[in-house]
Amino acid sequence: MRYSLFSVLGQALRGQRDWTPQWRDAAPQEAYDVVIVGGGGHGLATAYYLAKEHGITRVAVLEKSHVGSGNVGRNTTIVRSNYGLPGNIPFYERSMKLWEGLEQDINYNAMVSQRGVLNLYHSDAQRDAYARRGNAMRLAGIDAELLDREGVRAMVPFIDFDNARFPVKGGLLQRRGGTVRHDAVAWGYARAASDRGVDIVQNCAVTGIRRENGRVTGVETSRGFIRAGKVALSVAGSSSLLAGMVDMRLPIESHVLQAFVSEGVKPLIDCVMTFGAGHFYVSQSDKGGLVFGGDIDGYNSYASRGNLHTIEDVMEGGMALWPGLGRLRLLRHWGGIMDMSMDGSPIIDRTDIGGLYLNAGWCYGGFKATPAAGFCFAHLIARDEPHADASAYRLDRFATGHLIDEKGMGAQPNLH
Amino acid sequence: MSDPATTRASSSQAFSSQASSSQAASSQAASSQAASSQASALLWRPRGAWEGATKPGRHGAPDGAAGVRLTLRDGFGLATLIAADGKDADLQAILAERFGLSLPEAGAAQIEGERGLIWSAPGQWLALAPSPHVLRDLPEALRGVAAVTDQSDSRALVRISGPQARAMLAKGVAVDLHPRAFGPGRAAVTSIAHIGVQLWQRDAGPTYEIAVARSFAGSFWGWLEHAAAEFGYEVEPGRV
């Protein structure tokens, strides 16, 4: 049933009786043209664009748990395209444009809210670095504004302007940035892909990748062997484990990133705001909870939880920036497992094994990339050549030196 | 005996001229000392690490006796000793012979009055003395055995005692200071309020001493005030 105000009203009168599963809970078939491993946002979006853009519908998305059980449901919901390096800029802007038309495209309200992303700066050097980034964005036709202190005050008058250890001097604003209801992205893509014939197979864990003559032939799963012409890995957090099945080592470590939500309160903040002198960024969900985060815990982990040290660090940042937060209460904190790559940027590329494709290394930027990652990965899988917007995300860039290191931290994943 | 500042200056000089391997410096020491006049002694007054940050007197919760006593220390000597590879035993022997102190194990401090050796890191100790000149012989005595670096000015030092000393420290020190886990002669390198500290316990009173990097003295003091306020605290200036 198509979703609209009319269908909702109609079902209100019929006791909501006629709704059907939003996606088919498919059983695996014997063979597919493309098997996508990972039923998160990226995998589902890839399936959707394979079907929509390339007409490839003999596609299965294999998910070891349920749709959206990974990072697409554990992030802080921010979308933006305020990157500074040429390897990143067109890709994230592609993503932003896809977000802007997403709901109408997939007929699912993911609550794309372009409320603005404001990065605060606290020194002249930081201002110049933001100007450099903002100018790069403008060169690519992306909106960016450099605000002074008064410009910031007009947007977020409640932050500490007078007693701050690191006074706020201004901010870089991308008005088109904002938030998206994260779970809805997974569900919306699942529904749209399923509608186009994609099989979404849940509770199906991949246990092996079968190869013959240097080419993949299919995947072993907890539900049996599935033949596949092409296999696409889209399993952020576990990329190294899947790659290990074909003896590949990746420039990736798995790290835990914690996220936080406060109790719900009436509207407090109308944009996404990041602290430039500590680890803290915040927005407010439509339900009223402040959603915030900071830095990764900093050590390799596959346990989706973190430790107190990082929690205190984030809260200190929050209180330093916004002293009115003191009496608001933290409701929940949880952790997600990130693919932290060696230069802080992702990989969308072929591998040395024929028919095996890799979408990995998203660090903590994977959510905002979901539509473009799906779009570009689908392109790569269908055409066997990188999409222009993702052409920098090569696996061999570490050998050639074409690094995309926005923070300049070098080959240490936990510093990105 | 002249005023403390002058004493300090000359004693530092003595220590450092020994420490120096520069011939120029040591050969010039005597003549430079002669050149020091009363005027320059006044001008060249050393500034205590706590100066400007602390205020002597009774502070915090006003009722009853102060729960915490903070004694500011100044004028002491400090040096880092780092044993050369394989020279721990030599270092041990020389220190025992020359200074009557044995090298404490990891996490320990050997304090005798105002002198002591405090473990800092593997193969590394902090030598504490009532004044810098006491340490002047060390570099020469330990040549080839340990690297010696003068740290007399690098730390602010405070002595913490009083019935609530442990409760107050528990607000910032993550190390277990309970008598079953930590006692006189124990030392730790850790952090308080994001500031690196080295702390050791002098007696079972308990009395502790904390050394904190000089540039952090003001912020560290801010934490001390915050932590001690509810117990009431007394700040007393003090040379050794």
């Binding site: 110049d128 100007a131 209460r329 409701l331 070098g410 | 001008l43 540039s215």
Partner: protein
């Protein structure tokens, strides 16, 4: 009929005080001699010391406390503990306003001020209660299906509307005026919960001499013992608890933390707890924090956090007056409050009958007991009927009536006939769920216990064991027994001799029950999650739409995502999904409980670190002088550095900086550069070590000389630059930049300890020991001569450029002198022991007076280094190679060093890479700005046209124009060419000429004079 019932019920309590009409005449653990005035929605009321806000409201007959999240339905008080989903209020006002505060946990204090939330204009008459009428539309997830057209209206209309309606309370609108504390605690045995099991555990462990910490979220210790009419060894439960507490307090190694919630379990025996030190007071006492965050490290832990009672799911189960049966007993017995004058009980076990008995004993009227079981013990039935109550067995409550409060229930009996029974309170007894939240924090899943129809702890985190109700052992005897055993075992595991003594006698009880997961035919909306307004029908819808996995159910319906994390609702949701999918409950799964157990104030986590204390501030040795002289400081990492020193009459910072630069270039100036990292490197292999960590060669550096040093990262990019001076044969001093000081030290330790452990080298940070000042300008030597002790020859011949020596100053004060220059002038860096930093600065200022000396700060320093084309932080940003910065030529060829191989990668040696160059505006009046990108003059702005970026700019007094340095493609080959400095974020687009990055004294003659 309702009215009649209420009138009849009034008789037994007519003796209660007029201003607290629902307070019993006697009983309870409140202090009736200490009345407490408080207000709710502006209405002045009175309770007693020992009340919670909830019990005091009930005592005053206030049942309507809030409005629900989505439908704005009237809500009252469900529970008597931290699981409360409904009775959330704004506590206090102004900057101390605390939204979403559980009335059941708020201790009553004199003058307490509470306001209901999520209603307008008033609690009783709420405009948005129209949402309840629209509830057929507002089913779970309806918003995913609509509000999509037109796209632009989402941010403008739909979202603001939804946001305004959502949220519950209002946050404070000013900085929090209270302070927060942190504390660390260590123990052998941590006991979580102060009920019978926790007290028994603490006693068993504490008596052994073990260090024990007992944490209890309540302000009175005893847990359910305070709420039940039970006896232990012949004394009341409350009395037993009081004696246990007294004994624990007498044990020197036992610490009891009341008003303290153990909110999180972390790795390796680390726990987080928050103590509400002052929340029971109007304002904290002077010098006392509002709350204290405890970080507890325990070798063993006993989880005795009790259990949470389950509501029934039936139509209108959210009406004010419908409560948990255990909570009803708490109000009756602990607080001396009748939650209703005519109470009905809905039970599926003997538990509910205890509530009936307690209500009768407290003098309340009993309207009915509805038991889902077909047979009940005859003595219970007799007791209820003797009190005039209707008894229904084999039936259930299908619906509840009453707009703003319960007035009647609709009961379906075993023969499916329905009757309406008037009542003003309903107690629900549907079994209990052990608190499995804390043991889930370390990713452990609870397991289903069919005997008690509840999840119990599964494999517990290492060192933790559960006892009492938290372990699913619900009888009092079991609580005491398992608690004592767990306490003794924990202490024994820590090396103490402990034993669980015999459990005192308790009265027998039956805890068997068969839960009714939901009313088979509910009348009206049957809520599963009260706070998020998730009804049973929403679970059905989720099932219909394929959201059947428990996480999907949760996320689609928001079940269990409210501030109570579903403490009273999760199992109900699971049970309905189990029914719909034909599975058993454990196959449906459990949601993962996340910390904190109950919400914790953000301020408590931050503690001392807010405002100026967010991070430590480091002061330079000349700070006092700088302050005295009106210096403007700038935050540089943790340092507060002097930026510039305005003089009288200078109104613009640029005037000051220009004056400082000109003075240095023509006379002399001093600048505090103490913030540089300084590392002492000694040892037999010191040189070998330096050769491997630095990219340029040092083999030829003689004693008494310094050299510029470049450090690369292993990936070939520049990590940092500085200097290395050789003071003696095996003694060097290395400097690192302010920003990288700690990182470089860590890197050197890495190299020493891990990469090359065979090297005999000793590293010591001497950054804090030495105050270091740059003395720069043509009169630098003259100035220095006046403080350097006679006998040290610092003439150009004796002490040439790059010389380094240990000297004395000021009459014997040891010092180090380096002839190095960042400004491009004749310059020195003088280091003195930090205690003499202040004196040396003052002495230098005095010594330079005849030459017109100035103090200069980081701004002037920066201007001069840009004039000299020296790379600094903006250029050494982790993305540039030595070659990019024009330093390629100095790198060593014949040695291995960190970064040697990786810097040769093709992309890093690409001649097209942007490389350091200088830039001058074609129109000298144009101002340059860092962050501008370079474009060809005729290029359309685009990413493809981007040729590089301006990294640093300054107004150069020497050139009387703005100048810049930056990175541009093939920059060294293009001197003289013009490009645009394109800076749209600041509205600038300036034509600049590429030039050498060295603007001043390119032949470096000034350095060597």
């Amino acid at each position: 009929m309702t009215t009649l019932a209420l009138q009849r019920a009034e008789a037994p309590v007519s003796a209660t005080s007029a201003d607290q009409p629902f307070r019993t005449a006697t009983g309870g653990l409140i202090d009736r001699n200490r009345p407490r005035d408080f207000s709710f929605d502006g209405r002045r009321l009175t309770g007693y010391h020992g009340d919670t806000l909830a019990s005091a409201l009930l005592a005053n007959g206030v049942r309507l406390v809030g409005r629900s999240f989505k439908y704005h339905r009237p809500r009252g008080i469900l529970s008597a503990g931290s699981e409360e989903p409904n009775a959330l209020v704004e506590l206090r006002s102004g900057a101390r306003r605390e939204p979403n505060t559980r009335a059941t946990m708020a201790e009553l204090y004199e003058g307490l001020e509470a306001t209901s939330q999520n209603r307008w204009p008033s609690l009783a008459l709420d405009a948005l209660s129209v949402n309840a009428l629209l509830s057929p539309i507002f089913a779970a997830g309806f918003y995913y299906k609509t509000f999509m057209w037109p796209a632009g209206l989402w941010e403008k209309l739909y979202e603001p509307m939804i946001r305004r309606a959502a949220g519950l309370g209002r946050a404070a609108d000013a900085p929090d005026p209270d302070t927060y504390d942190h504390a660390h605690a260590h123990c052998d045995v941590l006991v979580i919960g102060g009920g019978p099991a926790g007290l028994a555990a603490a006693l068993a462990a504490g008596r052994s001499g073990a260090r024990v910490i007992l944490v209890d979220e309540d302000f009175a210790t005893g847990g359910r013992l305070l709420a039940e009419r039970r006896e232990i060894g012949g004394v009341s439960g409350a009395e037993w608890a009081a004696r246990a507490v007294a004994e624990l307090e007498s044990l020197p190694e036992v610490r009891i933390l009341t008003r303290t919630t153990l909110f999180g379990v972390y790795d390796h025996g680390a726990y987080g707890a928050v103590e509400r030190v002052s929340d029971h007071l109007a304002v904290p006492a002077p010098h006392a924090p509002r709350q204290r965050l405890w970080r507890i490290v325990a070798r063993r832990a006993v989880l005795a956090a009790g259990a949470i009672e389950r509501p029934h799911v039936f139509g209108g189960n959210d009406r004010p007056g419908v409560m948990l049966a255990g909570a009803v007993r708490t109000y009756l017995n602990r607080y001396g409050v009748l939650p209703g004058r005519r109470l009905a009980v809905f039970t599926s076990s003997d538990d509910g009958w205890r509530t009936a008995a307690d209500a009768i004993a407290a003098g309340g009227g009993l309207a009915a007991v509805i038991d889902t079981r077909t047979s009940v013990p005859p003595h219970l039935r007799r007791m209820a009927e003797a009190a005039g109550a209707r008894v229904v067995t084999g039936g259930y409550v299908a619906g509840a009536k009453g707009h703003l409060g319960l007035s009647a229930i609709q009961v379906v009996d075993g023969y499916h006939s329905t009757e309406t029974i008037a009542c003003d309170g309903l107690a629900m007894a549907n079994g209990w769920n052990p608190v499995v939240h804390l043991d889930s924090h370390l990713s452990r899943r609870p397991v289903w216990d069919e005997a008690i129809h509840a999840f119990v702890p599964g494999a517990l985190p290492s060192g933790m064991q559960a006892a009492g109700a938290a372990a699913g052992r619900f009888t009092l005897a079991e609580c005491l027994e398992t608690g004592a055993r767990a306490g003794a075992e924990a202490a024994t595991a820590c090396g103490f001799e402990a034993s669980a003594e015999a459990v005192p006698q308790t009265d027998p009880e039956s805890v068997a029950h068969t839960p009714l997961w939901r009313a088979p035919k509910p009348r009206g909306k049957a809520f599963v999650d009260f706070q998020n307004d998730v009804a049973a029908s929403d679970v059905e819808l989720a099932h219909r739409e394929g959201f059947r996995a428990v996480e999907l159910l949760k996320r689609y319906t928001t079940l269990g995502m409210a501030t109570d994390q579903g403490k009273t609702s999760n199992l109900a949701g699971l049970s309905i999904m189990a029914e719909l999918t034909g599975k058993d409950i454990p196959s449906v799964g459990t949601t993962v409980f996340r910390p904190p157990f109950t919400p914790v104030a953000i301020g408590a986590f931050a503690g001392h670190h807010r405002g100026k204390e967010f991070r430590a501030t480091r002061h330079v040795p000349s700070h006092a002088w700088a302050e005295e002289n009106g210096c403007v400081f700038v935050e540089t990492g943790l340092w507060l550095r002097p930026a510039y020193f305005p003089k009288a009459g200078e109104t613009d910072w640029l005037d000051t900086v220009v004056r400082e630069v000109e003075t240095v270039r023509t006379k002399v100036g001093i600048c505090d550069v103490t913030t540089l990292g300084k590392i002492d490197i000694q040892g037999r292999d010191a040189l070998a070590f330096i050769e491997r960590v630095c990219a340029n060669p040092f083999g030829t550096l003689p004693v008494g000389k310094a050299r510029y040093a470049v450090l690369l990262r292993e990936d070939g990019f520049v990590m940092d630059d500085g200097t290395v001076a050789r003071l003696a044969e095996t003694h060097y001093v290395m400097t690192a930049s302010t920003a990288n000081a700690a990182r470089v030290m860590q890197h050197l330790e890495f190299c020493r300890q891990w990469l090359w452990p065979e090297l005999d080298v000793q590293l010591a940070s001497i950054s804090e020991q030495w105050a270091q000042y740059a003395v720069a300008g043509p009169r630098a030597r003259d100035t220095l001569r006046r403080i350097v002790d006679p006998g040290f020859d610092i003439s150009n011949q004796a002490f040439p450029f790059l010389a380094a020596a240990e000297i004395t100053v000021g009459g014997g004060i040891p010092a180090r002198l380096f002839r190095i220059s960042f400004s491009g002038e004749l310059a020195y860096e003088l280091a003195v022991p930090a205690a003499y930093g202040d004196a040396a600065w003052r002495a230098l200022m005095q010594a330079g007076l005849p030459y017109g000396i100035t103090a200069y700060g980081s701004e002037a320093l920066s201007v001069m280094r840009i004039e000299k084309g020296h790379a600094a932080g903006a250029e050494i940003n982790g993305q540039t190679t030595a070659r990019d910065l024009g330093l390629g030529g100095m790198l060593a060829k014949k040695k291995d060093y960190i970064g040697r191989l990786m810097k040769e990668r093709p992309a890093l040696t690409d001649p097209d890479r942007p490389i350091l160059a200088g830039f001058r505006p074609v129109d000298p009046s144009d101002r340059l700005r860092a962050g501008a990108h370079f474009l060809a003059l005729d290029a359309e702005p685009s990413l493809e046209a981007d040729e590089g970026v301006m990294t640093s700019v300054a107004y150069s007094p020497s050139l009387r124009s703005w100048i810049g340095i930056g990175l541009i493609r093939r920059g060294t080959e293009r001197h003289g060419e013009r490009v645009r400095a394109y800076d749209p974020v600041r509205g600038a687009d300036i034509e600049v000429e590429i030039c050498s990055p060295v603007f001043v004294d390119p032949k470096e003659e000034k350095l060597r004079v």
